[in-house]
């Protein structure tokens, strides 16, 4: 080994690094013959020793604790932004959802029970009134063709209109007239009635103040009193009639039903 080759490995030898064993042996043999290279290796070893002393002197040195505290604070801040804590919000939202769901369920149950209560059949004494009203409504709308001779009178129309208003007012609690048919759907649909005929002694009383419809049976001959044709062969038979009673208890109008 010459001095140039020695210069290549002198650092590793001085720093006690792993090198090829043959190269190391040659280098050590070279310094036996070359004083300059021996001094060079001594210098390198000296500087290695002093560098190690320097490294040892600051071996335990480290950043102060306040750096770690600042970094952890910054880390928590960044984490809060990058990884927002969902559990708290989720729990709150879950509670809100449960509360809203329970409230919605209760509202639905109340609404359903109210609808069922409205659709339930009314007591018997109210059924007859409701049926009469329903029948009057249906007949007012559908049976004018069968009594054209009666509905042509202007005073009859007035009473019919009042009766309709009265019917709407008294039936507001029953929005579905078809559901209030105590006599049955078939009876309401199959009955044919005249328009309401004013009773002479009833005057022009305002039926909007209230009233009542009562179904009665009269001798067929009574139809003649209102100018309706009567088969005298059946004069003794009964005929059904709806009488509109005002709040004064007097009959204001009548219609005949078949």
């Amino acid at each position: 080994m010459n001095c140039q080759k020695f210069e290549v490995v002198v650092n590793d030898i001085a720093r006690e690094q792993m090198i090829d064993a043959g190269a190391r042996a040659e280098a050590l043999r070279h310094i036996d013959d070359c004083q300059n290279c021996a001094d060079r290796l001594a210098d390198e070893r000296a500087i290695t020793t002093r560098l190690r002393e320097l490294a040892e002197s600051v071996k335990s040195a480290g950043a102060p604790a306040r750096v770690e505290a600042r970094l952890l604070a910054a880390f928590n801040e960044i984490s809060r932004v990058q990884f927002p804590a969902p559990p708290v919000f989720a729990r709150q939202n879950r509670r809100r959802y449960f509360a809203v769901a329970i409230a919605a369920g209760l509202l639905f149950m109340f609404g359903l029970s109210a609808v069922l209560w409205r659709q339930a059949p009314p007591p018997a004494n109210q059924d007859s009134r409701a049926a009469s009203v329903a029948g009057a409504t249906n007949n007012l709308a559908t049976t004018t063709a069968s009594s054209t001779n009666v509905s042509s009178a202007p005073n009859v129309k007035k009473y019919v209109a009042r009766a309709a208003v009265w019917r709407r007012k008294s039936a507001t609690k029953r929005e579905d007239p078809a559901s209030a048919k105590p006599l049955g759907d078939n009876a309401a649909n199959t009955e044919i009635a005249t328009d309401f005929l004013p009773m002479t002694y009833g005057g022009a009383m305002n039926l909007q103040e209230g009233g009542q419809m009562v179904r009665v049976e009269l001798p067929r001959l009574a139809m003649a009193s209102f100018g309706l044709p009567v088969n005298m062969d059946r004069a003794n038979e009964k005929v059904k009639a709806d009488v509109l009673l005002g709040i004064d208890g007097l009959a204001h109008a009548i219609r005949f039903v078949r």
């Binding site: 650092n11 300059n36 060079r40 500087i47 002197s57 950043a63």
Partner: protein, 182 residues
Amino acid sequence: MFRGDPEAFAELYRRRQRNVYRFALHMTGAPDVAEDVTQEVFMAFMRGDNNFDERKGTVNSFLLGIARNYVLRRLRKDRSLVSIDEVVETGEAAAGEALNRGEAIQTMHQAVLNLPEHYREAVVLCDLQELSYSEAAEVLGCAMGTIRSRLHRGRALLIQKLRPTRDESATAPERESSRCFA
């Protein structure tokens, strides 16, 4: 990387902060700058400014690479941190005194600080931080041959700087050492 786990971050910090701090301290000679650099390195790491890729090297090399950038930036910003003249004077003054161990270490530290940045980096990483050539090459982003060359040159400069002290303490005749550094 830490998925919001502060304990994981704290554990990594406690393991690695000394290497970063010592590197910055050896490179700048200023504890407050080393403290700032350490903080900046881990701040950058937690922010993910430089994506760590384990295929490219170890975490230690990665952190030291970030530290190196911050140190160089700081040195260029404040050149007065290390003054060549000041260090030369310190070395010459120390040469005439009987050195105890503490003073010798201080002199050595000043000599290291006096080295040019490229050589200083190699000496600090390989001799003071005891990194292998390959690890130092990862930190500095250069070839292993470059590291060996810079380390060789840096150590030769240190020998030159400290020779008066050694010669005086050893009372040996002064030798021409330029031959070995050529």
